[in-house]
């Protein structure tokens, strides 16, 4: 087996794929009509859409659990119908919502199902099982010999992912893999999976009905509407900024502006410097700094440059030193990786204009305000308008 | 050589035996049901009694019927009583289990709603829980009745037996037409009774019908 640090990933192409369940009707639930798209190697492509739009059907056609009525699916340019079904399926990782772990086998045995089918030697199976369990955040010694019934939903999902990765497949199919767990666990699983993908860089087809999940997880998003018709295909930013039709706009939601905020992070903005004053500083010096501050507040910091609170200018005493009691901790602390959506939310919750951006050691870096975020959104919208052609002239001869 | 012509001439005998058979079955199932219902209600109040009661019923059920009758005969003789005691014993396990399963199948939120609305425990039992337990109870009755129909045959050995008598006598006198006729009527009886009880079950649960499925 190639070293895990040399990822292999394949391209997946749908060419005019159609699946009809009823020869007379085009739009029965689960049907797919003339779907064509290409997923480049190493990318996550999310298929998203309302119930019955054919996204799961499309997914299952890749590992031939369902066969198309017409059209072709190609992996690395090879039509999958020319390949042996069993060999095809063993080379594709498959994760479903209910996981489908084998209750009568231990977690360790479950994880190496495909390697065992492929005839790997026992020692290698065992090593691989431990490696994968660690990869998905489950301590091998504790989990290897347990049974699925003893695990929680979130733990089982992780085992499902580990099992799909066991034979190091170049493609993974994931059908609402995080749907059966509660939102807190789901978010954690999503984040961990994204981190895993950074390492493994596999080609992943991911089905979900949740547009937020699609935007978060996908490098490319395919929006499907009833009848398996492709409404739009592109990076999440494009889907949000320039929905191709009313359907897409409606599906994405009226709050797509806000959704775009979740795609950008605090670090993407040009941040403002913040005026700080360390504890124990002379009052006169504090007043001097205040003159240059953009807002009538000073940020009190400790000797490590970590924020303590805001000091309003009226509260600075006439003489003496600046002390801790003067500070009012009002603002939320954010780091550069916080999404703009979370940042805005935190600021609104705290009912303040400004948030303090700190580094990993909690040291003050800069300031971010609600106005800055609003300004950023406006700029993005202006881009939109320009491209939509508000300023474009009608075709004139010349 | 099987003398099939015996049959038309002896319809009367078959009919009488059938009637006997039905009576024996009817008594056994009715008594068994009453007893099981009583025991089930007791268990329902005090769960701890379930394992011992079910255990005893289970042992009775496992003991081959011939052996069970053999145990009884020295005490109660070759009589209807012996037959009925044996037959009733076999119905206990099936009926108790099914009644309990039926009562347990009532969702806790329904029970709570009934309690919240002011039903006394007795009213709740009679108006809500038992009706909802009906499908499983009827299923239990079906199994118990069909099983009993089969067992009644064995009681022929102790002088009862309904259609079993016809078969046994036929067997002893090498009248094999009687044997097959008796068997056929027994099977027919079992099938008819099964269908009747299924129909009864549908009637008793109009809400399941409305949903379109059983």
């Amino acid at each position: 087996m190639a070293a895990p640090s040399a990822p292999r990933a394949s391209t997946v192409e749908f060419r005019h794929v159609t699946k009809r369940y009823d020869s007379r009707a085009k739009k029965t639930p689960g049907a797919v009509n003339d779907l064509s798209l290409t997923v480049p190697a190493g990318k996550i492509c999310v298929l998203v859409g309302p119930s019955g739009c054919g996204k799961t059907t499309s997914l299952k056609m890749v590992n031939r659990l369902i066969d198309p009525t017409s059209g072709q699916i190609l992996i690395d340019g090879v039509d999958i119908m020319t390949r042996d079904v069993t060999e095809l399926r063993r080379s594709i990782g498959y994760v479903i919502q209910q996981v489908g772990l084998f209750p009568h086998q231990t977690i360790g045995e479950n994880v190496v199902t495909v390697p065992r089918l492929m005839g790997w030697p026992k020692a290698r199976q065992r090593a691989r099982a431990d490696e994968l369990l660690a990869l998905v955040g489950l301590e091998p010694d504790s989990y290897r010999d347990r049974y699925p019934a003893q695990l929680s939903g979130g733990e089982r999902q992780r085992v499902g992912v580990a099992r799909a990765l066991a034979a190091d497949p170049p493609i993974m199919l994931m059908d609402e893999p995080f749907g059966a767990v509660d939102p807190i666990v789901r978010e954690r699983l999503q984040n961990e999976f994204l981190r895993l993908q950074e390492e493994l860089a596999k080609t992943i087809l991911f089905v979900t009905h949740d547009i937020d999940e699609a935007i978060k997880m996908g490098d490319l998003v395919a929006v499907l509407q009833n009848g398996g018709i492709l409404a739009q295909f592109g990076p999440p930013e494009e889907i949000l900024a320039r929905p191709a039709s009313d359907f897409v706009a409606r599906f994405v939601g009226a709050d797509r502006g806000l959704k775009r905020l979740s795609l950008s992070r605090v670090g993407d903005l040009e941040l403002r410097p913040v005026v700080t004053v360390p504890v124990g500083e002379d009052v006169a010096e504090a007043r001097r700094r205040l003159r240059d501050a953009p807002i009538p507040y000073l940020l009190l910091v400790d000797d490590q440059n970590r924020p303590i609170g805001w000091v309003p200018d009226d509260d600075i005493p006439a003489s003496g030193r600046v002390t801790e009691e003067l500070a009012i901790p009002m603002s939320p602390l954010l780091d550069r990786r916080t999404t703009l959506k979370d940042a805005l939310s935190m600021l609104l919750d705290a009912n303040v204009q400004a948030g303090i951006v700190v580094d990993r050691n909690r040291r003050v870096e800069s300031l971010i305000t609600v106005d800055m975020i609003a300004e950023w959104m406006r700029e993005g919208a202006a881009d939109e308008q320009r491209v939509d052609g508000v300023a474009e002239p009608a075709t004139v001869d010349a | 050589m099987i003398r099939w012509d015996w049959i038309p001439g002896n319809i009367g005998q078959l009919a009488a035996a059938l009637a006997d058979h039905v009576v024996l079955t009817g008594i056994a199932v009715s008594v068994g049901f009453a007893l099981s219902l009583l025991l089930a209600l007791i268990i329902y109040r005090r769960r701890a009694l379930y394992p011992p009661i079910a255990g005893v019923a289970g042992i009775l059920y496992t003991i081959p019927s011939l052996a069970l009758f053999a145990f009884l005969v020295p005490f109660t003789g070759l009589s209807l009583l012996t037959a009925e005691i044996g037959l009733v014993s076999y119905t206990l396990l099936i009926l108790i289990r099914n009644i309990m399963a039926g009562l347990d199948s009532v969702a806790p939120d329904i029970r709570e709603a009934a309690e919240g609305m002011g039903y006394t425990p007795f009213q709740r039992l009679v108006r809500v829980e038992l009706p909802l337990a009906t499908p499983l109870i009827i299923a239990g009755l079906r199994i118990a009745t069909v099983t009993t129909i089969g067992l009644v045959m064995v009681t022929a050995l102790i002088g009862e037996g309904g259609l079993g008598q016809v078969m046994l006598r036929g067997f002893n006198f090498r009248n094999y037409a009687a044997v097959y006729a008796g068997a056929a009527v027994t099977v027919a009886l079992a099938i008819v009774v099964d269908l009747l009880l299924t129909g009864l079950g549908r009637l008793a649960t109009p809400w399941a019908r409305a949903r379109g499925g059983t």
């Binding site: 590992n63 079904v85 069993t86 060999e87 095809l88 063993r90 080379s91 594709i92 498959y94 479903i96 209910q98 996981v99 489908g100 772990l101 084998f102 209750p103 009568h104 231990t106 495909v114 089918l117 049974y147 699925p148 019934a149 499902g160 099992r163 | 289970g58 059920y61 496992t62 003991i63 081959p64 019927s65 011939l66 052996a67 069970l68 053999a70 020295p74 076999y90 396990l93 099936i94 289990r97 099914n98 499908p135 299923a139 239990g140 199994i143 069909v146 129909i149 089969g150 067992l151 064995v154 102790i158 078969m167 046994l168 094999y176 044997v179 068997a183 027994t186 099977v187 079992a190 099964d194």
Partner: protein
């Protein structure tokens, strides 16, 4: 108590333990016949049940077998085969095999049906062949129910083999039948006790077998004490010799 003395004396009699009519011999006849019947029934019903359960085809056979098996009393089967096969083993054997097939067939079918569809889909999606799916996934998961079916069958066979004595066969039933005929209460009750013990022991044996064979990961899933499956789809049919 008279009766207790009668039975104790019967057991105590040394003649009881030797010869053709001795307890050891009758026991061997009984167990031998029962064991052989169960093996044959398993050999017939298991493959058929596995095929129907896995492929979903021919379910009507499994349903039909269950209903027929319930409706036709074992005693009747014995009597019906007699004119064809005559005295002894020849009659008892086919009747008992026919008796043992329905529980195994039905339970195997239902056990396979009950395997979680998601588990099956995951297994197929991972690239198992149909045979691997059956062998590695479906069969082990369905095992508790299948063993329960075998247990029902075995107990029923042991119980009905008692009646084989009626068709001049051997086995422990001889004591009961002869006891009735000769009005010998000691023999009657002694035989009854032996038969009852054998039936209970058979049930115990299969429960132990189940415990050894079934994966610990499946514990805590129904059925534990092991009711076999009633095909009506609702209530489980208990293990036992009723029908005899």
């Amino acid at each position: 108590m008279d009766i207790v003395r009668l039975v104790a004396d019967w057991f105590a009699d040394p003649a009881r333990w030797t010869g053709t009519d001795g307890i050891p011999n009758r026991l061997i006849e009984h167990v031998g016949l029962s064991g052989f019947v169960v093996l044959v029934a398993l050999a017939i019903a298991l493959p058929v049940g596995l095929y129907i359960g896995h492929s979903g085809r021919g379910a009507i056979i499994a349903i039909g077998a269950a209903n027929l098996g319930r409706a036709v009393p074992s005693y009747a089967l014995l009597l019906m085969f007699f004119p064809i096969f005559g005295l002894g083993f020849g009659t008892a054997f086919p009747a008992l095999v026919l008796l043992a097939i329905p529980p195994v067939l039905t339970n195997t079918y239902v056990g396979l049906c009950d395997v979680d569809r998601d588990t099956v889909e995951a297994a197929r999606g991972m690239g198992m062949t149909e045979w691997q799916l059956l062998r590695i996934v479906e069969l082990p998961i369905a095992l508790p129910v299948i063993v329960a079916g075998a247990r029902t069958a075995a107990v029923q066979v042991v119980a009905t083999a008692t009646l084989a004595a009626l068709v001049a066969g051997g086995g422990l039933g001889r004591y009961i039948v002869d006891g009735f005929a000769l009005q010998d209460d000691g023999r009657l009750l002694g035989g009854a006790i032996l038969v009852a013990l054998l039936a209970l022991a058979t049930e115990r044996l299969f429960t132990l077998v189940e415990r050894r064979l079934v994966s610990p990961g499946l514990r805590g899933a129904p059925p534990p004490g092991g009711p076999a499956y009633e095909f009506a789809g609702q209530a489980p049919l208990p293990v036992g010799s009723a029908g005899v």
